[in-house]
């Protein structure tokens, strides 16, 4: 087991039904949270998450909001888990990412996903069926935009003329992360030599097989020397005792997995079909299965250390510790973050 970095996430800025807040309060809280984790120093990255047109205000503009995080912090890296890249204009993302990387002095970890909600593609007038093509062409646009010289890209989805994008990013090679639930994006990321972020809907065995798949594909594609990171999103919570951690976090975790992921049709059954509110008993089963997965990173510090080591032994070298649950008191999650930074990460 090599070195494991631990980041925290995932900030969504939702004003939910059970925890309604003024949006300015939520954005101010994000900035304060970012400053808090920035000072803890052992936490490597703060991760954001994106959706559009969702009833509770789920944050739609990650690179913009990251500008605020960058201005508030000095050390911590800023990542997206994930920016729904197929729903964006690739060249606009290239500009914004470059500016953000300059503004943050090279602290951007650009996390990209396909996106999956029909409502979002429909709102942007983008056919969901071309999302893979948009994604792959878009990554080409990004890489050409950040390299020296003109972009000059002609694809089916994007056409960029002979123009040079300015400014260039601060980092010579901005890390690109690809979010993945199934094997296809893992293969895609491996071909690109990009890092991956494996979904919180995956069991440990699935994580292991995805990482093995990545390595095989990277070997075949000749990208295995790219230095790509194997990231895993896990929900987690640290308290002084296991009982305290369970009683604080589990009800919120159950709610998150059932009500929210169910509403998004993010969970899938064994055939890969989305499980939503239309299939309540399967939704309960899928959520219960995932609670068991995430329970292993919920508890007192020693238990969470073991849980993180377990994920690392499956081949992961970056854990996104998802400690932002709806409607938990802020003092409690700041305490969880502090314990993570001081009692967990140094012992992983």
């Amino acid at each position: 087991m090599g070195k494991v970095d631990v980041g925290v996430g995932i900030w969504s800025l939702q004003s939910t039904k059970t925890g309604p807040r003024h949006f300015s309060y939520l954005y101010q809280e994000l900035i304060e949270d970012a400053q808090y984790v920035d000072e803890l120093r052992t936490i490597s990255t703060i991760w954001q998450t994106e959706h559009h047109f969702w009833y509770d205000g789920y944050c739609p503009s990650l690179l913009t909001v990251a500008g605020g995080i960058a201005a508030a912090t000095k050390h911590i890296r800023i990542g997206q888990s994930a920016l729904l890249f197929s729903q964006h204009e690739a060249l606009r993302v290239a500009h914004q990412a470059a500016v953000l990387d300059q503004l943050s002095a090279g602290r951007l970890d650009l996390g990209l996903a396909l996106g999956y909600r029909d409502n979002e593609f429909d709102g942007f007038n983008i056919d969901r069926r071309v999302r893979r093509q948009r994604f792959e062409e878009g990554v080409n646009v990004l890489r050409r935009a950040w390299a020296d010289g003109p972009v000059n890209f002609e694809g089916a989805q994007f056409s960029v003329p002979d123009v040079a994008v300015t400014p260039k990013p601060y980092q010579a090679d901005v890390p690109i992360w690809v979010a993945a639930v199934g094997p296809k994006p893992v293969e895609r990321a491996a071909r690109m030599g990009a890092s991956i972020i494996l979904s919180d809907a995956l069991t440990l065995d699935q994580v292991r097989s995805h990482i093995d798949l990545y390595r095989e594909c990277a070997e075949a594609a000749g990208t295995s020397g790219s230095g790509a990171k194997m990231g895993v999103l896990r929900r987690g919570w640290v308290a002084e005792t296991n009982e305290e951690a369970f009683s604080e976090a589990l009800p919120s975790l159950r709610f998150l997995l059932r009500e929210q992921l169910g509403g998004w049709r993010y969970l899938v059954d064994e055939y890969g079909e989305p499980v939503g509110f239309d299939r309540p008993s399967e939704l309960d089963a899928a959520a219960a299965k995932l609670v068991a997965v995430h329970e292993r990173t919920i508890g007192r510090p020693e238990r969470v250390v073991r849980g993180i080591r377990e994920i690392a032994s499956a081949g992961a070298d970056h854990i996104i510790f998802g400690t932002r649950f709806d409607s938990l008191p802020r003092a409690k999650y700041l305490r969880s973050l502090e314990l993570l930074a001081t009692e967990v990460i140094p012992h992983v």
């Binding site: 913009t64 500008g67 500009h95 002095a105 409502n119 429909d122």
Partner: protein, 339 residues
């Protein structure tokens, strides 16, 4: 009269790391807030050899975070992408700043000139404004025009079937985000058609601006904004000595106005740049107030060619010696002289 700082350019300067220029710009925003400015402005330019800032949204969010009271002026290019992206970004920044955003959409001349995407027409920009206003409004909406189809209601999007509207989230903190139009003839036309403030650019002279400002009589209390290159020092000589090389090189990089390089600096500066000691700056600014009806000046003041300390002194001096002249109606002469 009200005053803003900017638009911040944040370009790449020989002898300075670009990353330091970004930090310098955020510090300038903080200094402007400290010395009583009303706003700080961020624009965006793309594909520029000088590598000017290319995202008003990303830097605007940073300015919003670093400041508490000043308004954050955002100058996104209009007409290029689905206006929902801009609407979402503005809403986020409005919440980061707790309701301090002003948006001055820019006509997208330079990007259209490069052949990339978009449409700089009056109709397209008005359509973008309509989408943004609907997106910021309290109700779900749809929008069908030659430029936007929201929502698309594609048969392939089965989960979205039957939804004839969308709701852009989050909503801005403000009930209505103030909208201005920045640019030249297209912007002036859009501003007139939409009854929005026209925000004249710094590179046009007083004479060139006149037709744009005479198009429409502003309503009672309406903002009449103008951007100007401004530099101030204790003496006029000192101000010119500092401003001249910085402005000459800035305008060479901007390529604006087209004949910038052909005449002398004095020709370029005349009736265009506001440079001098406090009295000279006041006198020049009164002309814009009297002749164009301007009541909101966005003064650049921040030039990255200069030492950051020199810029800081200029922002402070402008705040202490020029702003009160226009803001403090009835300022007794005895107090005025103290500046």
């Amino acid at each position: 009269m009200r005053f803003g700082l900017g638009p911040l350019t944040i370009e790449s300067i020989a002898g300075k790391q670009h990353v330091d220029t970004y930090e310098e710009a955020l510090e300038q925003a903080e200094i402007a807030e400290r010395w009583g400015f009303d706003s700080v402005w961020v624009d965006e330019r793309n594909f520029t050899p000088g590598a000017f800032n290319s995202s008003a949204s990303v830097v605007g969010a940073a300015v919003a975070q670093r400041t508490t009271y000043v308004r954050v002026g955002l100058m996104p290019l209009a007409g290029l992408v689905n206006a929902i992206y801009v609407a979402e970004e503005v809403a986020c920044i409005d919440n980061i700043s707790n309701g301090r955003v002003i948006v001055a959409c820019q006509e997208p001349g330079e990007r259209v000139a490069t052949g990339w995407g978009g449409d700089a027409s009056v109709d397209r920009i008005r359509d973008d404004l309509a989408v943004m206003r609907k997106a910021w409004g309290p109700n779900p909406f749809n929008h069908h025009s030659p430029y936007h189809t929201i929502p698309a209601e594609m048969a392939a999007h089965t989960v979205a079937a039957g939804l004839h509207s969308i709701s852009v989230q989050p909503k801005p903190a403000q009930l209505a985000v103030p909208l201005w139009m920045a640019g030249t003839s297209i912007a002036a036309e859009v501003a007139a058609a939409e009854a929005l403030p026209f925000f004249g650019p710094a590179h046009l002279s007083l004479e060139e601006l006149r037709p744009f400002y005479s198009r429409r009589e502003p309503g009672p209390g309406e903002i009449v904004p103008l951007a100007r290159e401004v530099f101030i020092a204790r003496t006029g000589e000192e101000a010119h000595e500092s401003a001249r090389p910085a402005l000459e090189r800035l305008y060479a990089r901007l390529g604006e106005p087209a004949d910038a390089g052909s005449g002398s600096f004095a020709d370029l500066a005349r009736d265009r740049f506001v440079i001098g000691d406090p009295e000279q700056c006041i006198e020049q600014l009164y002309r814009y107030q009297h002749e164009l009806g301007v009541n909101y000046v966005v003064a650049r003041l921040a030039y990255h060619e200069m030492h950051a300390g020199e810029t800081a002194r200029a922002i402070q001096l402008f705040g202490q010696a020029v702003v009160p002249e226009f803001r403090m109606f009835g300022l007794p002469d005895e107090i005025r002289k103290l500046a």
